[in-house]
């Protein structure tokens, strides 16, 4: 019995050991696998991933210094608007021990400060009150030196426009909280605040300066009340210069008058006068209603309703298309438009972008003022630029489309490196080529002779409009302009200049028309900007240039003048 018992006991014992052994084995296997995994990972990390110590230490790079609001640059990277850190002074009135003395000391220290106002603020029950925003470093130092308890500084950003009034209408300005209130600052407010790098404009600050300088000089000379100008790249629609005078300092927008803040180049809409004859001629040639040899009877004024359409310097004879542009004949232009009809005229004007607001990146955009209904009188007067008011930027883009080969491109203030943007064809290559010859003719031997800039083959058209008010055309104040393009054999830039109410002087024989007061501006601007922009001058008398610009004028004079 005992043997049997022992055997059983042995068996139980044996079984227990077996179970223990199996468990131990399992545990050992698991542990081994775990260590193996660690070992493999160790080998992988040390031998395969990073064989040795990393050659370059992986330190986090320093965060680059950034402003809260991005800079605005011109096309060459010149700073037009930037943000600088300044200190703003505030007070905790509870902690100010002697408000009387503190107010006196501060009023003496800060320019244009009112002692009573500061005292009132220092006596208020609030725990926070602004004393003065954006101190200069010297002022901050001086306030610190006073050692008044309860005065503190808050670091703030202050928008600065290094170029001051130059380009003020384009760049715009911001309020005290750095929100854009006008110009690019307003239209790109969100993007600028996101701080996604500086915003590069198409503007060239040198061209902008030349344009502003020349228009300003002419304004002073002819005692004009305002002026505006545009320089535009005809192949990309980029605006290199956009001037509206009088202008203002965006560093102190509060001090500017509403008249100075008004952007005459984009928000102002004006009846442009004879520059519109460019479009009338282009339409007539493109539609096939006229050729360069067509002649129109300009021997006597057109009478329609209670109006009379007259020429400024009547030739009293039949005129061909080149002559109509050359002598700027209103009668001729009106007759050309009459052949076209109102539908075609509207169609072409709308394709030239003269009937809808331009898509420029500024909040200050004026919508053109078109007649409704479009009567016959409108058809005739719009032919020479009366009865339809557009902004200078619209006129410049439309002229760019006429001379660049007939492709209309939206004007833009953003940098495109001069690359041609997508555009819509509105005129044929042939019409555009004929228009280039016609515009060159106007400068070469017509009303625009003062716009000539030797070597740059300028072409263009004068424009003089009588200003009208509620009582109709006043008959005294003029709005004179000139739109030019250069070099005419392959135009690259359009230059537009406008003066509001210029008065003629001795040297202009009392004339204040576009040809006398604005054409010289365009000439000066072109001769100054062309070398900067790398436009090579050419010999205007070279035979191949003359051939390119040649135009045959059929003079009707001898035969018809005697009628």
């Amino acid at each position: 019995m005992s043997a049997e018992r022992r055997r059983r006991k042995d068996l139980a014992h044996h079984q227990a050991i077996e179970t223990g052994r199996t468990r131990l084995f399992l545990l050992a296997t698991l542990m081994m696998l775990a260590f193996l995994a660690v070992g493999v990972r160790l080998i992988e990390l040390t031998l395969f991933r990073e064989g040795s110590e990393p050659r370059i230490a992986n330190a986090t790079p320093p965060a680059s210094w950034q402003t809260e609001r991005a800079d605005i640059l011109d096309r060459n990277g010149e700073i037009l608007a930037t943000s600088l850190r300044t200190a703003s002074l505030y007070a905790d009135p509870v902690r100010v021990l002697d408000p009387q003395a503190a107010a006196r000391a501060l009023a003496r220290l800060l320019p244009r400060a009112n002692r009573k106002e500061i005292l009132e603020r220092l006596r208020s029950k609030r725990r926070f009150t602004w004393i003065r925003r954006h101190l200069t470093p010297q002022q901050q130092y001086a306030v610190n030196r006073l050692g008044i308890p309860g005065l503190y500084f808050q670091q703030e950003e202050h928008r600065v426009y290094p170029h001051g009034h130059l380009a003020a209408h384009v760049v715009g300005f911001t309020g005290v909280d750095n929100r854009g209130l006008a110009g690019i600052e307003k239209s790109f407010d969100a993007a600028l605040r996101q701080g996604s790098g500086p915003l590069r404009l198409s503007l060239d600050i040198r061209v902008q300066h030349i344009l502003a300088d020349e228009i300003g000089k002419a304004m002073r000379r002819f005692q004009a009340i305002g002026g505006s100008g545009v320089v535009m790249d005809v192949t990309s629609g980029e605006v290199l210069g956009l001037v509206s005078l009088p202008d203002f300092d965006p560093n102190r927008p509060g001090a500017a008058s509403p008249d100075a803040m008004f952007n005459r180049a984009t928000l102002g809409i004006y009846e442009m006068g004879s520059t519109f004859k460019i479009f009338t001629a282009a339409m007539a040639l493109e539609s096939g209603k006229a050729t360069l040899d067509s002649v129109y009877d300009a021997s006597k004024p057109i009478r329609i309703a209670r109006f009379a359409i007259e020429d400024y310097k009547p030739k009293n004879r039949w005129l061909s298309v080149p002559e109509i542009l050359m002598y700027s004949s209103n009668i001729g232009a009106a007759k050309m438009a009459k052949d076209l009809g109102a539908t075609l005229q509207q169609d072409y004007l709308s394709r030239l972008g003269l009937l809808s607001p331009p898509a420029l990146e500024l909040p200050e955009i004026g919508a053109p003022l078109a007649p409704y209904p479009w009567r016959e009188i409108n058809l005739l007067t719009i032919a020479y630029g009366h009865g339809l008011a557009v902004s200078p930027i619209q006129l410049a883009s439309a002229v760019a489309a006429v001379v660049n080969g007939g492709i209309s491109r939206p004007a833009t203030l953003l940098y495109h490196a001069g690359a041609p943007t997508e555009g819509a064809r509105i005129l044929s290559e042939k019409t555009s080529e004929q228009m280039r010859r016609l515009l060159r003719l106007v400068v070469d031997s017509g009303t625009g002779s003062h716009a000539a800039a030797e070597g740059y083959l300028v072409g263009g058209k004068t424009g003089t409009a009588e200003k009208n008010d509620a009582n109709g055309y006043a008959g005294k104040g003029l709005r004179s302009s000139f739109v030019g393009a250069f070099p005419m054999q392959a135009p690259r830039y359009v230059v537009f200049a406008l003066l509001d109410e210029p008065k003629g002087d001795k040297q202009t024989y009392g004339y204040a028309t576009g040809g006398w007061v604005c054409a010289p501006i365009v000439s000066n601007v072109i001769s100054r900007m062309a070398p900067l922009l790398g436009v090579a001058p050419i010999d205007e008398e070279a035979p191949e240039v003359e051939r390119q610009m040649f135009i045959e004028i059929h003079e009707q004079e001898k035969r018809l003048a005697s009628f």
Binding site: A59, P62, A63, S64, W65, T67, E78, I79, T82, L84, R85, V160, P162, H163, G164, L166, I205, R206, H209, I210, D213, A453, E454, G455, Y456, S527, R528, A530, P531, A536, P537, D539
Partner: protein, 96 residues
């Protein structure tokens, strides 16, 4: 023999500990230095930014023109004085 081994191990541990201690302190001081340098870089970037703004203000075309008219008496280049290399020969011929 066993005592030697234990001693050797202890020595090794002590050496490694000391080495680690040194490295850690070195890294710590380098990190402080790096942070200080980064701050200096930021300060310099801000100074640079201010100087750039000042440069833009001082190099305003209007100011340069005023100074040039006052001190240099230079004139803008006219088209007549610009020519290509090819045009040069023709010009020389004409002047002869």
């Amino acid at each position: 023999m066993k005592g030697h081994f234990t001693f050797l191990w202890l020595l090794l541990v002590a050496v490694v500990c000391f080495g680690l201690f040194l490295a850690k302190y070195k890294v710590q001081s380098l990190e402080t230095e790096l942070a200080a340098l980064n701050q200096v870089i930021l300060d310099r970037q801000e100074e640079l930014h201010v100087l750039k703004a000042e440069w833009a203000h001082l190099s305003r075309p209007e100011r340069i023109q005023r100074l040039s008219e006052r001190f240099l008496h230079l004139q803008p280049v006219t088209a007549k004085r610009i020519d290509t290399e090819a045009g040069l020969a023709a010009r020389l011929e004409r002047s002869e």
